[in-house]
Symmetry: C2
Subunit: 370 residues, 2 copies
């Protein structure tokens, strides 16, 4: 496989190094914004040099962000080149369009590294969905915020201190919005739900709360009750609809979720006959993520369908008006617990934000004393 | 894919039902010992009718046991038919022979359902091993004993009561030896280690202790110390050797292992760059296991190598003389803790069994007060 690699950041450079030890996979050309020395591939500064090279059969996009990554991915598929990406932003926003493009051009599109870091999560959803009905997917899907929450929990440190630390460690970007506001998690949930339920969800339809209003007082409040804060996402079938949301979630301290710390992810699927399957592994980090990129290349080289499966790609709205459950609110320093539907919980939060911009919403496992 | 199905027990019948809903996969013929009515396939009583049918491209062996299952698998591969099996006994005992036979005949052999029930465990080891160095594999791999231990722990019930219960529930066989003595777990560990380290292990070389000497007093002793008994297996690289063993293992009660209950399995791999990955799911049960059989059929239909990977199949002895750790012993009612190598721990147990046939050996996570 002759690869045109776009991007030489932490994941791109790790992927490149992996290919050096892998017979049959060769990065022929690297698109870089800077000069690079000591590489065994040619380095170019214009994407056209990759696009127009008939020897390159696969483009690996590891730049990230919407543009020009989407434009490169689109052009590559249109030029009948396979595409492997870790770019959840692009794949979510252009899901149907890119899958259709891959199908029309008889090439393959894969994005396993986009959700779950090094965990073979999307292939495992696909494997289960091929023969069973999936009822739910959920999990802790963002390594940055999980690192921050684990450390806040372990050390009683406050949010801004941990954000600074995460940035210094390279776990968080200079602009950490996508991670801390839950948008990154939301995209990963959308990809998971799309595969699990054979649908196409608009990420904007999924209510999303991140961790930016969580304080060390909240962490302490939880600790007194043997609960631990995580940023969790869940999508499930109910009736004829799909419910989906992202928000801080409290887990009893003895649960696997509560003990999934640092940059690790924990994701679960629930299928009618197969039951529950959970997957735990590094959700971020150069080699774990790069390994999923290489695994996708190997799948494509073996021969595989244009996308993970034949998907109906039916648009699917989110219906969060169903089952009620206990939710924790904090506004103006006061904690309350209310039993509400997901939709109503987010509605109440929006009202509370009008009087307290740092108001908190968190999902509870059961009703607790405030 | 036209399938010759051997066996119509819990897994065979579940697999058959799964194929009814799966386009492209058809059980053409069933080999059964009894008459069967209402099936859409033909039922035969002689394996030759499947072996000699040129329309049948794949044999799915779900009879279990060594003979005639091994003979059928061997003949099928030799007749250039693919084979999918859940039979860990056969695959372990004839590992190199069957893989070579598949390679020579240009057909595929898969046994994902043999280790981990419904969990995509063997494919996940293979995926990681394709691009990284695996350092260890371990886990709780037997649903029967895990059910028994979970219930003994939860209810304080004794071993013989739980064995009776497990048999009534169909979780244990009339002859439960393979499960309770750890032999089933050992075979699953051997398959896992073979794939992880690119070797071929003789199961008899792996020291193996099951749960048949565990008493409710042992469970209570552990509970007082916030420890939980599980039957665990571990294989790891050390120096230039491979260590491997199966034995009762104590886990702190807050760990994921301690909380993996009922018929669930929890398996982990440790790779140099990818880090730790864990997989949790139903380790037994009709549909989970049958789903892994069908997933193997789907792999074969897509086109895949003769076995999970090109394996060197080098014979590999087990070297358990390395790292020392804390072990719990009970003999004549007295508990002791000693820091020993794996090899020495099993040696001491063999001596203790000379004076007390119910002597216990268990691996500790750290030194404890007796």
């Amino acid at each position: 496989m002759n690869i045109g690699l776009l991007g030489f950041g932490t994941i791109g450079s790790s992927f490149y190094r992996l290919t050096l030890n892998q017979e049959g996979f060769c990065v022929k050309t690297l698109l870089s914004r800077r000069e690079r020395e000591g590489l065994s591939c040619q380095v170019v500064y214009s994407f056209d040099e990759i696009l127009n090279d008939p020897e390159i059969d696969t483009v690996v996009e590891l730049i990230g962000g919407m543009h020009p990554a989407f434009d490169y991915i689109y052009a590559a598929l249109n030029a009948k080149k396979h595409v492997v990406t870790a770019n959840k932003m692009v794949v979510c926003a252009h899901y149907k369009e890119l899958i259709s493009l891959a199908e029309q051009n008889g090439v393959c599109l894969r994005c396993t590294a986009a959700a779950g870091g090094g965990i073979p999560w999307l292939p495992s959803i696909n494997r289960a969905a091929a023969m069973d009905r999936l009822d739910a997917v959920e999990g802790i899907l963002n390594g940055t915020t999980n690192y921050m929450l684990s450390e806040m929990t372990a050390r009683g440190a406050d949010y801004s201190e941990l954000l600074r630390e995460a940035q210094e460690l390279g776990y968080a970007e200079a602009d950490p919005t996508d991670d801390v506001e839950g948008f990154d998690t939301r995209r990963k949930l959308v990809l998971s739900a799309n595969l699990a339920f054979d649908i196409s969800v608009n990420e904007q339809d999924v209510p999303c709360e991140g961790i930016s209003t969580l304080s060390s007082e909240d962490i302490a409040w939880a600790k007194e009750r043997n609960l631990v804060f995580k940023l969790s996402a869940r999508a499930e079938r109910h009736g004829s609809g799909i419910s989906a949301y992202v928000c801080p979630t409290l887990f009893p301290s003895a649960t696997t979720e509560a003990q999934t710390n640092d940059i690790y992810n924990l994701v679960s699927l629930y299928a009618e006959h197969i039951g529950k399957q959970s997957f735990f592994g590094a959700g971020a980090g150069d080699y774990p993520t790069a390994s999923n990129v290489l695994a996708d290349c190997m799948e494509i080289k073996r021969g595989c369908p244009p996308f993970y499966n034949d998907h109906s790609l039916d648009d699917c709205g989110i219906d969060n008006a169903g089952t009620e459950g206990p939710w924790l609110f904090r506004a103006n320093g006061t904690y309350t617990v209310r039993c509400l539907s997901v939709a109503n919980a987010f509605y109440v939060l929006s009202k509370l934000r009008g009087i307290d911009s740092t108001a908190l919403l968190a999902k509870l496992p059961y009703t607790v004393e405030v």
